[in-house]
């Protein structure tokens, strides 16, 4: 499947909802303690959930490494606010048997964009490198 990806392909399109329980679990895990997040969702909690969805779509995680990340936060997000996430292939290249992929992410609440980002991953040893 991975070898068939090309730039502009929609990789994934899904909903994300983080409720108070999700946010509290995230805060407990990260150690962050800011009263803002009793009402709103920490921006990186949204990012973490999106990344988990992307990685989950790969199925086999062997050899996948997250190398870079970019986020623009455009709106505060309330607990339990429904977000629609669209992930496209931003860049895609093969080098020395490894795949280098950048996912472009757009996050919407209803029709409003509330965030965007780019996730860079490298997947080691996914193809025969005898021709590289």
């Amino acid at each position: 499947m991975l070898e068939q990806l090309s730039v502009g392909d929609v990789f994934s399109d899904f909903y994300v909802v983080l409720d108070s329980k999700d946010v509290n679990s995230y805060l407990m895990a990260t150690g962050e303690n800011n009263s803002l997040w009793q009402t709103y969702v920490p921006p990186l909690a949204v990012g973490a959930r999106i990344l988990a969805e992307i990685i989950d779509d790969f199925g086999d995680l062997d050899g996948l490494m997250h190398t870079g990340q970019e986020f623009s936060f455009l709106s505060k997000i309330l607990h339990s606010q429904k977000l629609n996430v669209r992930v496209e292939i931003g860049t895609f290249s093969k080098r020395k048997g490894n795949l280098i992929i950048a996912f472009s992410i757009e996050i919407y609440s209803e029709s409003n964009m509330v965030g965007s980002g780019k996730t860079n991953v490298i997947i080691f040893g996914t193809e025969d490198n005898s021709n590289v």
């Binding site: 800011n34 709103y40 990344l51 190398t67 990340q69 936060f73």
Partner: protein, 129 residues
Amino acid sequence: MYEVAPVVESVTRLIDQSRVNSYADAARDHNPLHLDTPEARAGQFGRPVAHGMLILAIVSEMMSNTFGLQWAEQGHLKVRWRAPTFPPVTVISNAILKEDVDGIASYEIFCEDEDGQKLLTGIARVKYI
């Protein structure tokens, strides 16, 4: 609200395996690379590696401590991970003001371990007016 770009205070956090395990549950990222599993021990690092996003979370915490909801509404991050983070380790997140133009502050950000090894570098930008 600030009239000029403020100093962003560092955040220090112990990243141990217990925290990594909790993060795996909270973020729903159970990649065995991060857990104390045979896969992690047989992998290229020979031991579990903390989630990169767990380290990045410290950066976002640092920025929201200073800018509050402005960070959630007008913040921008761009980072690269420079080295794997092996728990247990104390991670220090830092921000150095690089530019302050038209109410937009740009900071060089980095996370390092207690030995000064850079784990993550990048930029953070936020409109603070």
